[in-house]
């Protein structure tokens, strides 16, 4: 073994390494005296948190990882026993249930309780209720950042000013109090610069799917690619390194004209290029993926890999104006966009990524994504004249995944595309 020269590790391997390391640091945070901040993925303030030498914890990520491991059903049930309604978002219930059952994190190690709840009120109202509930369970300070909604499809100076002021008056002082450190503008600047690098690399990775055949699956594979940038690593060297490795691998695939990677090796034939709107189902993630790739469908673009923030429109963290760029970042995340803006974005994806159709995956939990999705579907259908499909399940409550129902709809959807293709082959003029 020793005689084999160390090759640079694969992106996947490297990701595992940094994630393991992160969970180790979390597990030992208490003992080492490092403070922990719980916060949300959309529009997160990772650079700011890290600059105070605080460790971020993302309850949504814990919830989805619990679901991938098959634990979420129990957690959700536990929270419902504690009085939470069946109707509300299952992320919240999974998180609360996990906490009530000992707060063992995704790595099997106990998670430290929060020293600060950073309620970045971005793109979803449930966040507020979620942390209000957590604050009642943990006895710790809570800092709220209200992020205004891009209702009219844009950001006004008043909106930016509002967010920046909150950062200055509420968020930064709260972090300083908890960490016992002052705000360090130099550190922030450096991290913003690194963040911008990762962001550019990440965008290139995602855009690789414009190639035919697509070298990646931008949804089922994409959710793993997005982890480092949307969680604890944006603004660090690790993230830059990860996305470099990833991009190299993807570019190699393109050179070799390879199709997207699936659970069972490369996709034998790229038959359908799909854009997906909505978050995935985590309890039956692999099963759902199979329903796509077994039919030769690859997801070339989607909204979910942009939940944390959108970089496709040219946004980058700005070392020269860090607070303004944080504000713009928060306001720009996908679920903070108006419905017409979401339609525009998806329509553009359909064109840029040469997609055959749009599939909307609607999850019972999430009104932020869900309310209006049917109109979005109709509008994209109208504007692109491409077939759109619709499936339903949930994020982390396994009860709501019905394989038969989803398969039934996807079967019909893909066969519908086949029919159209066959017809156009027979009647080329049309």
């Amino acid at each position: 073994m020793d005689s084999i020269p160390m090759k640079s590790p694969s992106a996947k391997h490297f990701q595992k390494q940094i994630l393991d390391d992160y969970f180790d640091r979390l597990a030992s945070a208490r003992d080492r005296g490092q403070k922990v901040v719980y916060t949300f993925v959309p529009g997160n303030l990772t650079e700011l948190i890290l600059s105070f030498d605080l460790l971020p914890v993302y309850p949504e990520v814990n919830a989805l990882q619990s679901a991938l491991r098959g634990d979420s059903g129990n957690f959700v049930k536990r929270a419902e026993m504690a009085g939470h309604s069946e109707d509300v978002c299952s992320y919240v219930k999974c998180d609360i249930g996990m906490m009530l059952l000992g707060n063992t994190g995704p790595a099997g190690k106990p998670l430290p309780p929060p020293d600060l709840l950073l309620l970045s009120y971005t793109g979803c109202f449930t966040f507020m209720k979620w942390f209000e509930n957590l604050a009642a369970l943990y006895d710790c300070p809570i800092a709220l950042l209200h992020v205004p909604y891009q209702a009219e499809g844009g950001v006004t100076p008043a909106m930016t000013r509002y967010v920046v002021r909150q950062l200055e008056e509420e968020i930064i002082p709260a972090m300083a109090r908890v960490s016992g450190r002052p705000y360090d503008p130099e550190k922030i600047r450096a991290m913003c610069a690194l963040a911008a690098q990762s962001e550019s690399l990440f965008v290139r990775c995602l855009e690789s799917a414009q190639h035919v055949p697509s070298p990646i699956d931008s949804y089922f594979g994409g959710v793993f690619y997005m982890f480092p940038i949307f969680t604890a690593f944006r603004g660090t060297l690790e993230a830059v390194k990860y996305y470099r490795l990833l991009l190299e691998e993807i570019e190699k695939r393109i050179r070799e004209n390879r199709t997207a990677f699936t659970l069972e090796g490369d996709l034998p034939e790229e038959r359908y290029r799909i854009v997906v709107e909505g978050p995935p189902n985590w309890t039956h993630f692999w099963e759902l993926w199979k329903l796509f790739y077994r039919r030769g469908a690859v997801v070339v673009a989607g909204s979910y890999v942009r939940v944390g923030g959108i970089y496709d429109n040219g946004f980058r963290h700005d070392p020269d104006h860090p607070l303004e760029s944080f504000a713009r970042y928060c306001m720009g995340c996908y679920t903070n966009l108006s419905v017409p803006a979401r339609v525009d974005l998806l329509t553009r994806f359909m064109e840029d990524y040469k997609a055959d159709g749009l599939v909307v995956h609607s999850v019972k939990s999430c009104n932020s994504f869900g309310a209006g999705q049917l109109l979005i579907l109709k509008e994209v259908e109208k504007r692109t004249a491409k077939p759109c499909g619709f499936i339903e399940s949930d994020l982390v409550d396994p009860q709501y995944f019905s394989r038969a129902h989803i398969k039934n709809r996807l079967d019909a959807y893909f066969q519908m595309i086949d029919e159209r293709r066959a017809y156009h082959d027979r009647n080329p003029g049309h």
């Binding site: 939470h84 109707d87 979620w130 009642a136 309310a371 049917l374």
Partner: protein, 385 residues
């Protein structure tokens, strides 16, 4: 003086064609008519523009939903469906205000832009930061934008003057609401629940100028009413700030032995705990009202301890024996607030009961059972000392 014609009042808001609004419009040609969704909107901005603000609080059970179901999956509450169902009747409205209370409402504002491009759809981002310099300033700017929308041009000095008058007007209305609530809380048998509710709800469709005299007259009569109290418990009803239950449901609760002595139904109409300032910059008065004088609400952030305390204070103020949590199905803000509040009650030994409803829930037997058992458990086994 006579009692208002309650049947007519009910018909006003149950009318999916908004005939009353059309009549008003015919009498006031050119005046703007603006719709607003739950739970709070600064109606004064519309009145100051000489217009009529119309609360779009759902169309009730009698409207058959077809169009509304096109856009909503089964796990979303009924309110936006029935609003969309009646939307074509709003053709003459100049715009609609969507207060920021939940994601459903938020997204509806964008859907409106697509579906009804001839109207403006204004999303009203209520700040969750309550410092007057930060949240206040943002809200001030938001209000100016909204006024600009309503007027079609930026507000001028004359408008500000009219706005001050409008604030005085709604102050009179909310004062009457407060007196009505006070009377009900003291002598629930003098103000039957359906009358109370009808008076509140008709304020969604009527201009305050038409509504206030009626309210005042009712109050004078009700105070003198001599009806007999029933052996009922006193409850606070929480969670219904947005989608509204039917009057039948409210009556069922009452018939099952519970006097609803306070509630958050139609919250935005009566949530200011004190009158708004009638002097100074009227926009600032609205801002100050929202930041400092508004009561608790599930869509308004406040620290969890403060939330529990204000809630307990409310329950005590009305000497409620217990709380009934009635939340619209699939309403995240209401349902997630419930767990917090229920725990607070539990630690203070205040009993509570809960159920879900939709605005078309017309089968009341389960609800009667919940409310009835609640009443029984308090009446038949008096509190141990």
């Amino acid at each position: 003086m006579t009692l208002p014609d309650f049947d007519r009042l009910k018909a006003l808001w149950e009318d999916p064609e908004f005939t009353e609004v059309a009549h008003w419009q015919a009498r006031h040609p050119g005046a703007p008519v603006v719709g607003y969704l739950p739970a709070y909107a600064p109606r004064e901005l519309v009145y100051a523009a000489g217009g009529l603000a119309v609360g779009l609080w759902g169309a009730g059970p009698q409207v058959e939903i077809i169009r509304g179901d096109i856009y909503y999956q089964s796990y979303i509450c009924r309110l936006p469906r029935s609003v969309l169902e009646t939307a074509p009747a709003l053709g003459a409205f100049s715009g609609v205000i969507f207060p920021s209370i939940c994601d459903v409402m938020r997204n509806l504002s964008g859907m409106w832009q697509i579906l009804f491009p001839h109207q403006w759809a204004a999303y009203l981002d209520l700040p969750q930061n309550f410092s007057s310099e930060t949240g206040g300033r943002f809200f001030h700017e938001t209000l100016i934008d909204l006024a600009t929308r309503i007027l079609g041009h930026p507000p001028d000095a004359a408008y500000s003057q009219r706005l001050a008058q409008a604030i005085a007007l709604t102050n009179r209305q909310t004062d009457l609401f407060r007196r009505l609530a006070g009377l009900r809380s003291k002598f629930p048998w003098k103000v039957p629940m359906d009358e109370w509710y009808t008076l509140l709800r008709s304020a969604l469709v009527l201009h305050p100028e038409a509504h206030i005299p009626m309210l005042a007259a009712y109050l004078a009569l009700a105070e003198k009413r001599d009806s007999r109290p029933l052996d009922h418990i006193r409850v606070h009803l929480a969670g219904a700030f947005c989608e509204q239950p039917t009057i039948g449901l409210l009556k069922t609760i009452e018939a099952s032995g519970c006097y609803i002595v306070s509630h958050d139904l139609l919250l935005g109409l009566h949530w200011f705990t004190a009158p708004l300032k009638e002097t100074g910059d009227p926009f600032e008065s609205l801002v100050d009202g929202y930041l400092n004088r508004s009561g608790p609400a599930p869509f308004k952030y406040c620290g969890p301890r403060e939330k529990a305390e204000t809630f307990l204070a409310l329950v005590r103020e009305h000497r409620a024996d217990g709380v009934i949590f009635a939340a619209p199905s699939f309403c995240d803000p209401s349902l997630l607030d419930r767990t917090l509040l229920r725990e607070a009650l539990e630690t203070h030994g205040i009993p509570s009961a809960s159920f879900k409803y939709a605005e078309n829930t017309c089968q009341y037997s389960g609800i009667a059972e919940v409310a009835g058992t609640f009443s029984d458990s308090i009446r038949l086994w008096p509190k141990e000392s």
